[in-house]
Each structure stands twice: as C-alpha cells, then as structure tokens.
Symmetry: C2
Subunit: 417 residues, 2 copies
Amino acid sequence: MSRAMRCEVLAIGTELLLGQIVDTNSAWIGEQLALAGIDSYEHRVIGDNLDRIVAAIEDLLSRSDALIICGGLGPTQDDLTRDAIAAWMEVPLIRHDDLVEHIAKMFSARARDMPQNNLRQADVPEGAEAIPNPIGTAPGVRAPHRDKVIYAVPGVPYEMQKMISEQVLPDLLERAGGRAAIVSRSLKTWGASESGIAEMVAHRVDALEAAGNPTIAFLARGIEGLVVRITAKGASLAEAEALVEAEEVELRAILGDLVFGVDDETMEHAVLKALHARKLTLGIAESLTGGLIGARIVNVPGASDTFKGSLVTYATDVKRDLLDVVASSVVSEAAAKEMAGAARRLLDADVGIAATGVAGPTEQDGLAPGTVCFGIALPGGVVEGVTTRLPGDRERVRQFATISLLNLLRMRLDALP
Amino acid sequence: MSRAMRCEVLAIGTELLLGQIVDTNSAWIGEQLALAGIDSYEHRVIGDNLDRIVAAIEDLLSRSDALIICGGLGPTQDDLTRDAIAAWMEVPLIRHDDLVEHIAKMFSARARDMPQNNLRQADVPEGAEAIPNPIGTAPGVRAPHRDKVIYAVPGVPYEMQKMISEQVLPDLLERAGGRAAIVSRSLKTWGASESGIAEMVAHRVDALEAAGNPTIAFLARGIEGLVVRITAKGASLAEAEALVEAEEVELRAILGDLVFGVDDETMEHAVLKALHARKLTLGIAESLTGGLIGARIVNVPGASDTFKGSLVTYATDVKRDLLDVVASSVVSEAAAKEMAGAARRLLDADVGIAATGVAGPTEQDGLAPGTVCFGIALPGGVVEGVTTRLPGDRERVRQFATISLLNLLRMRLDALP
C-alpha cells in the first residue's frame, strides 16, 4: 500500500446503546480492516439521533481518512444514516428510480406488499452513489466529500459482510493507492497450540515478511482450534487468489493433517466428508456429552446419508442394560470401547464412536473432572480406546470432548487404506 | 430521580478494534444504565494508546456527567486506564499498600508467584479511590474530579458485572440525588408473543406509570422466550426488593404457567426441577434434533439423578429396528407417540418424550420443513401426540423443537395430580 490509511467505524442504533443487541458488526469490520492493512483507531456507537450522528461523523473524520457507518439504513423515520450523510455533505437527498425498482422487486419476490416508507431506502445524498445490495432491500451508500469518504452499510450482518468484502474494501484499497483486490483463506487446524503452529510455520512467516504479501496471521478459535489465515493483495482478484493458493500449498505441506478444513468448514463437515468419501455410516454412543456429538453431526445438511443415530446412555444402568457394557468402571477405556462396539452393532453402522467421562464439577468413582475416554470401532472389527484429560468447567469439558472425538475419528478415517 | 443524569461507556483494548474479541460489556452496561434510568448517548472503543484514551475521556465528559471505562486495568504496560485517569485529573498515581496486600493474597490463594508487574494494579490516581474487586486482582477506580466522575472497571465480564451492580450503579444513583438501591428480577416466559404478553400486563404497566417505581420492561430472547423484567429503586436494598416481590406476585397471578423461571433459570432447569419434585426419571427419543434435547438437559449439574438417556434415532431403519416404530410415516404423531413409549421402556424411565420432524432445508415425505411432531409418555401409560409447524432455517427449527418439547413436558408435569 502506498500510504497508511485510517478508517473508523460508527455503528448506529439506540437498541445498541440500550443493550438490546450486542454490536458484533464493528469487531468484524475491524478485523477486515486490519487484514487489509488499514488502521482503525476508534469504534463508536451512537443512537438514532440526527444531530449526534452528524457530530460523530464530523469528529471522526476530523482525524481519519474514511468512515464506515453500519446501520440506520432501514425504512423507518428512525433510520437516519442517509440524512446524516447528506447533512455532512451539505446536499439534499435524491430519490433514485432504479433503486425504487430494485426495492419493489425484492418485495414482490417475497410476495409481500411494499410499505410506502420503504421508498426512503431509494434516497441517496446528491453526489454520493448507492452500493448495490443484491440480498436485501437497503442499498449502501458511498459518499466521497472533499478528501474524505463515508461508506454506509446495512446493520444486518450477512448483508453488511457481503457489501464490505465485495465493495467497500476494494474501494478503500484503491483510494489508498494500493492494489485493489484482497483475498484471504483460513486453514482451520486442530490439535496443536498457537505457539506450536507458530513455530512450525515460522520460516514461512519470515520468508514472506520482506514482500509483505501475502501475509500469515494466527487466530485462536477456542475449542474450534486455531486458524492460520493467508491474506494476499493483487492488482486483480485472480492475482490475489493465485498468491493465496501458492501459499496454501506451502502451509499444507508443513501442517499436514492438522488442517481439517478451509474457511467455513467445521469439524463435523470434515468428518462427514471423510465418511461419505468411503461410503461408511456412523453410529455414536455418548455419556457425558449428553447428545452434543450427534447434535453437531446433524448440523450438516445431508447428514442423513451417513448418520444413523446416537445412543445417549447417561445413567450407568442404561449403559449396562442397553449397551451391554460389562467393564467394571463406566468411565474407562474398556467401557468406551464396548460402547463404540455397541453403537456400531445396535445402530447397524459401519463405524461406531463413543465418549464417556467426568464432566464435573465433582469427581466420580475417584476420577477427576475432565477425565474422558473415547472409543472408536472401525469396519473390520478394530476397536481402539483413548483416555485424555480435558481442561475447563462442565460445559467446556463436554464441548472439548465432542470436538476431540470427532477429530480423532477424522484422523483414523484419513489413515484407512 | 431528582435530575436526568448522563453516563457514557468507553471500552479500552486494541484487541477489540482488531476484532479479536467482541465487546459485549458495553451492551450489558448500557442495559443496566437504562434500567436505572440513566441516559447513555454514546459507547466508544479505543485502543491501548494513552493520548487517545485521554482525548476520548475529555471529549466524552465534555457532554456527559459520568463515564464508565471498561478494561485496561491489567498488570501490563499496555494497560493504561489508571494512567489516563491520572492524566485527566492532572495528578500522580499513588501505590496503595492495602491493594498490594490484596493482590498478593489473590496470588497465594491460587498458589502462584506474583509477577512484579502486578503491583501496577495497586496504583490509584491521587484523589481517586479503589473499588474493591473480591473476585479478581484488578481493583476498579472511582475518580471524582470537578463535577464529573469516572468509574473504571475490569474487562473480565463476571468481575465487571459484579462491580457495576454492587458499587457503580448505587454510587451513580446517589450522585443523581436519587434512591441508591436498585433491584431487578426477570420473569422468564415461554409460549406467548411479545404483543400478547404486553396486552396481558398492560393494566399493571399503566398502574405503575404514575409512580414510575417499580417499572416493567419486556425483553425478547429469541427461542428462549420473552423476559418480563421488574426493576425497583429504594432507599435500601430491602425496600427495593420488597417492591420487586410485590410486583412479582401481581404479574405471576396474570401470567400463570407462562412463567417457567426467574433470572438465570433455563427451561432445562425448570423441567428437571419439576421431575425431581415428583421423583420421576426421564428418557428421550430424538430424531431431527440429533441429540440437542439431551445436551440441554445435561447442562444442569445434577441431571444424572433424573436423566436416563436419549435415543437419537436419526435414520428411519433405526427408528424401526431399535424403537419398534410401526407407524407408516416416521414424521407423524403416531410415530412420535411410539418413540416416546419406546424411550420410556428402553431407558427404564418414568417419563418418555420424543421429537420427530423435518428440519429442512428440503421437504420430506411431502411434509414442509418445520413440521415437527412431539410425543409425551407419562407414568400410568398416558401417551400424547402433538403436531406443530416451526419457523426458520434448519438450525432454528431444531432449537425451537427442543425448547418447545421441554416446555410441553413442563406444562404436563405441572398438571399432574
């Protein structure tokens, strides 16, 4: 980028001040700006009050090159972002016929009558332009004025994110005199610590440092693991994508099977993909997780091709009577292996997995909270048991047990001949 | 309150600007201020930069009576809230011996060495006072200066919330010349719309309006239902509590069994409490929910006294083979009733419940997404079936089905002789 650029974020809405909604948009926008190498020194939330919004715009732009305003683009009299931008530019609002048409079309596609109020969303300050919103009624606004610029985007997260990624960031980067396309890809890893991963890829980070493009960032995602994100800029989308892809090849060679997915792919996606590729069905037996493992699996549309069911045997007598567990302790590798085998047998599945353990808060049968045993029964009769000790409170132990077992299954499936 | 008071919120932390953490604290504080009748016109986030924090303090207090600063009270050189307040007051920081002692005690209680850096947390601007933090190392700061006041609280949500509720709000209310104690209680309801509830209690809202104390607010909580919150102020805690309790009696008489819990109680708490009181055990059979119902039940510590398990029969052949379902369609009231009976029988439980349905996104056996059937098998052999149509996408349908069935069970248990 040829010069450092600064862009602040202003969220609009009295409901945010009252705490009826948590503002997650500003954090997301802040993350995107940071990835693009644009500085952001301040996020601000202001209610639905025209004078205060205009004062905030003037104050923020007195120290900054650009401003992203989020929210206040709806159809009601409380939605004042368009009016505030017009006041800042000292121009009137102009109704755009093409926007009227787009909004009318969105309503008719949903077979709903369009309230007259919605026409307000077709108003754009004179000298500014609308940013198209293909998935909602509220267009955004791009308002250059003197040497500054305001981008107004809707408060609906999905609409906002699409508009920022596809329209706002490229425009900001171009204004900064840099390369206009930015692409990022997240390699999702599980099973290594942040410092471990950082050490493994340190020489790639060093190698990229001089050119500064692409860049590598590490993002901790709690029990969902650690994300290694590659971000590249280019004169075109194709150029940026090629840079990301080349670096992905380098990183995958280093990280190997620590990488379980890319971008929005979850651990349950990875597991179902691995099962599906081998035409294997899955049955589960759960104890401490209470059904969480099954619930994650059915998060994936189309899970029914592969997932037979889960036997949540919380009480000891149910483990004994329904699953025929004979191991003396129901929290043991032996019990977990029996449970996995029973899941495979009773649910008529190719693969059976099981988790039993102590979620806490108190110990059980002399075992500390966080003690968890997994069982995996694979086609051909191989049954494996694994014992682990997971950190955190009751809820965290259960979440950790769920993703740990799914990751173990993914690794075992990948290793099948 | 004798005069309108205005208090803004300033969150400190570069990690908030970078989107590594979402600022949920400001929304929570905003909600508490609104409940207490204190105006808040602006929330702001600033990074770990002394000049910018001081500038934000001065700007915010130029228009406001009070300011709550959240975060930046940690032990590192990046934690600048204490320094910024001292700069605003134009005073030095003074190290407090009693705070040094408290911090040393917190470390020794956790059997950890105290890094020298942590002594910075014992520094307080001259003329300001520390706010005790019984559950963490970072004390808060109360800094009155000229006719304004700053309260600094830790960024750790649990510590922050305790300090705001117990120390900051009473002090703010006293400064406003009003009554110093504030108490609120949330009655959690399920099964009626916001407008429906509002209509039912309209005469209570009207009756309270003149005095303005206590007040009633409605808070939508999505699939978790609707909260009716009573808030009262008093000269003492006991006075405020008495007002809340009297109003709770009035509202419960109107709302009846729509109320399933109070404050932090969840639907699964309510269900387990009802089962426990009647010494009944629970078994579940789930299909579309994939294990979510069981997973919610085991959220409650001590669930093992009551919860036997859940048979997640996702595949049709498992419903037939394991549960002996003979109904021609596995999404039908007949199937749900058979599943509930089988859960009761196979899990050796007193009560069996079941959910089967179409989560979507596509229809199944000619049934639209959102079609869900519930079964409830009670002691004595009574088995009931209910069909409903739930809104939303796949995930929402599953969540809705889970809480709908738990609520249905709660109502049936409450009606038992």
